[in-house]
């Protein structure tokens, strides 16, 4: 008899299974000042965030700097301790556990199944360890292999999986390029056969042509190994290629969540509309499209506006937006996949998504 699955939040269809469910996650950082370091304010980096990560999918967390996407991903894996909220984790056949409540030992066990890839390939690998040691570290610490021969075999297998030469395992990271280092980081992440991989801006620091290699590698690995990805990024084109569902974050909150095509073609939040409009498209034919250029700067999480955090920059803002903070609700029609938006006027507004040129319209 299988254990009861986590009841899905507002997302998705009932025959899908959430492997991770984040409920009301909150992470505040105190602002300290003065000689005695008294707390004078709070940076609300993550402010009541909830979402489900469906098994086998790639969910992207998108937003600009300071929106809280990286902090959220760190809280999911408990690299940062959340101020409040739950992170429910359930693998097939086992009861759900709340990662925020686990002690160190239990967390170590849980972390075999949730792994992370970092943004900077130059600082995420210990320069004083060989590849064998770096990739083997999780195996050694978790006693997943017995003896050196088995360790080398497993590491060789992992290197092959990321399309690197296994003979390289005695080399040091400084002998490799950025793209290759990311492959090493991926191999390390996969060493314990996890179920979930969090890619925290994993391709943002790479050259364009290498980015494509790594994105495709991640896709292939997902198919081969049945992985679930939480993909944190700020590049909308990359997210569109990589993700099944997208959650847009602004000032510590999720403002829109939807399936990728739906979000990009028919966004339901003014911020998403502005993001899509601002993202440069490598097609000169679309350069003269009507552009929404936001005024002002990205909201400061230490000093948020009242009501909807986006209202000072929103061209559709009304009085209500200043007074009332909108809830994230499903605005899709009945029978359609869930499309969540945190905007008072989500249903009324006719927002513009990515522009389809005549040439593309012919291909569709």
């Amino acid at each position: 008899m299988t254990a009861p699955t986590i009841p899905l939040g507002k997302a998705g269809n009932s025959n899908e299974r959430a492997i991770i469910s984040v409920r009301n996650l909150v992470k505040y950082f105190p602002i300290e000042a003065g000689f005695l370091r008294r707390q004078v304010g709070l940076v609300k980096a993550v402010d009541d965030v909830s979402f489900d990560l469906i098994e086998g999918e790639t969910l992207a967390l998108v937003g600009e700097s300071g929106c809280g996407k990286t902090t959220t991903s760190r809280c999911v894996i408990q690299a940062l301790k959340p101020t409040a909220g739950q992170v429910l984790f359930q693998m097939d056949g086992t009861p759900a556990v709340d990662l925020t409540q686990l002690d160190k030992k239990a967390l170590k066990v849980a972390r075999r199944n949730i792994r992370m890839i970092y943004q900077d390939p130059y600082s995420s690998l210990n320069p004083r360890m060989t590849l064998l040691q770096i990739i083997g570290e999780p195996l050694v610490i978790n006693r997943a292999v017995k003896g050196r021969a088995e360790l080398e075999e497993r590491v060789a297998e992992l290197l092959r999986m990321v399309r690197l030469d296994p003979g390289a395992m005695n080399r040091y990271p400084h002998a490799f390029s950025g793209g290759q280092r990311q492959r090493i980081a991926i191999a390390r992440a996969l060493s314990l056969s996890p179920k979930v991989v969090i890619a925290d801006e994993a391709v943002s620091a790479l050259d364009v042509s290498v980015q494509a290699q790594i994105l495709n590698l991640l896709k292939e690995l997902q198919k081969e190994l049945g992985l679930t990805y939480l993909f944190v990024a700020h590049n909308l084109a990359v997210v569109k290629y990589a993700a099944d569902r997208v959650a847009v974050m602004y000032a510590g909150k999720i403002v829109e969540t939807a399936e990728t095509e739906a979000l990009y073609i028919t966004p339901k939040h003014p911020y998403t509309e502005a993001l899509l409009s601002a993202a440069p498209n490598p097609d000169p034919d679309t350069r003269n499209r009507p552009r929404i250029v936001l005024t002002g700067d990205v909201a400061d999480a230490g000093n948020l506006p009242s009501g909807c955090a986006f209202h000072p920059r929103c061209q559709y803002a009304q009085d209500r937006c200043r007074q009332e903070t909108p809830e994230l609700v499903n605005v899709a029609n009945a029978g359609e996949p869930a499309h969540l938006s945190a905007c008072h006027f989500a249903k009324e507004l006719e927002l513009v998504g990515i522009v389809v040129t005549a040439a593309e319209a012919r291909n569709v």
Binding site: K108, P127, R128, P138, A175
Partner: protein
């Protein structure tokens, strides 16, 4: 698995064609290679090697016993080494002439002249004053000296001191204290500094706050008066060894704070590095992180800093002994030797008495250059 790897072409094959060796080179190998590129540092290391050879084999290197004095030879000047005799013949074997001492009847100033009639050839591995190497092995072979050992004459390489003792021999014996006090002191600073600094940086919070305030208070005390005050407190009748270690402790009291602060700073910044975070997520224990991830990252850096801290210790001991605190005769250190140079009359007439200072300067410079070379070589990954 052998260290030599065959590079196979793969679709994402190695692109940076560094020398094969560099690719598998460990941190220490890279540091060594970079260090060897600093000529000055390498030369200085060689010089230090010579000095420490003298530390170990002082009895052998010194031509004479440092305590035996020949009254007739007080304040005798250094000999000139000749290779050509009075007739102009060149000899391979250097030799010296006998010194004749004449006393001026009016001023009683002694002056020495060379007597070209009596020549003493010099050689290597000659017989001389007997000694016991390290108190264990008896011998009387010295590295160099007069071929025919003579009780009344000496080959005076750097002159004789006020009592008629060979200055060069005393300098050589002096290395034993002057050059080791620095090492022991620095080792103590290192242990204290890494432990306390590491705890401070690793535990953070209140522990960190308290330790930092203590460090700051210690550093606010002026060093030389502190050393002087503590040295005065030492009982003068203590045996040499006890005094030696007491001095070391005194010198290290403030010395560890610098290392502690740097270790703490490094720990704090390294904790934020992604690879440390990744290790924590791998499930590494705190101890494993400290020893495998944090410490190795700055070990080379710390070693470079320590090498640069040794001159401070050498100077400290020299200064203390020079002013009469610290070590006392019959202990032999360069500072003690320099006390003889305090009498202006002696200094004016026999300037070679100051030569121990030259050795102090050379060793300090050598340590500085080696330390610089180490520091520059210490982060071989910095440019990657």
């Amino acid at each position: 698995m052998s260290k030599v790897i065959e590079i196979q072409a793969t679709e994402s094959g190695p692109d940076i064609p560094l020398d094969q060796k560099v690719q598998v080179a460990s941190q220490w190998q890279l540091i060594r290679w970079r260090f060897l590129q600093h000529k000055l540092a390498v030369v200085s290391l060689f010089v230090l090697g010579l000095f420490y050879f003298a530390v170990i084999f002082a009895e052998f290197v010194a031509p004479y016993d440092p305590e035996i004095f020949i009254a007739r030879l007080t304040l005798a000047p250094p000999h000139t080494i000749h290779f050509t005799d009075a007739e102009g013949n060149f000899t391979i074997r250097p030799f010296i002439y006998r010194q004749v001492k004449t006393l001026d009847k009016v001023t009683y100033i002694a002056s020495y002249t060379e007597d070209a009639t009596v020549a003493y050839p010099l050689g290597l591995f000659v017989h001389g004053d007997p000694y016991k190497l390290w108190g264990l092995f008896e011998s009387d072979i010295h590295l160099f000296g007069m071929v025919e050992h003579d009780e009344e004459t000496r080959f005076s390489l750097l002159g004789q001191d006020t009592y008629g003792r060979d200055l060069f021999s005393r300098i050589v014996y002096g290395t034993r204290i002057s050059l080791t006090i620095g090492l022991v002191g620095v080792a103590m600073s290192f242990i204290l500094g890494v432990t306390i600094g590491g705890l401070s940086g690793y535990l953070g919070g209140r522990v960190d706050l308290i330790i930092q305030r203590v460090i700051e208070s210690l550093r606010a005390i002026p060093t030389l008066p502190l050393w002087m005050g503590l040295s005065v407190a030492l009982p003068p009748n203590w045996p040499l060894l006890k005094t030696y270690f007491a001095i070391v402790i005194i010198l290290s009291i403030v010395g560890w704070t610098t290392i502690a602060r740097e270790v703490r700073g490094r720990f704090l910044s390294l904790r934020e590095e992604d690879f440390v975070g990744a290790a924590e997520l791998d499930g590494a224990s705190n101890l494993r992180i400290i020893f495998r991830y944090l410490l190795p990252s700055f070990m080379s850096f710390v070693i470079a800093r320590l090498t640069l801290a040794i001159p401070g210790m050498i100077l400290g001991e020299t200064a203390l002994s020079f002013i009469g605190l610290g070590l006392q005769p019959p202990a032999i250190s360069w500072g003690v030797l320099l006390r003889d140079a305090q009498a202006i009359r002696v200094l004016a007439l026999s300037p070679w008495i100051l030569l121990p200072a030259v050795f102090v300067v050379i060793s300090i410079l050598a340590f500085n250059f080696v330390g610089d070379g180490l520091r520059d070589a210490a982060d071989p990954y910095g440019s990657v």
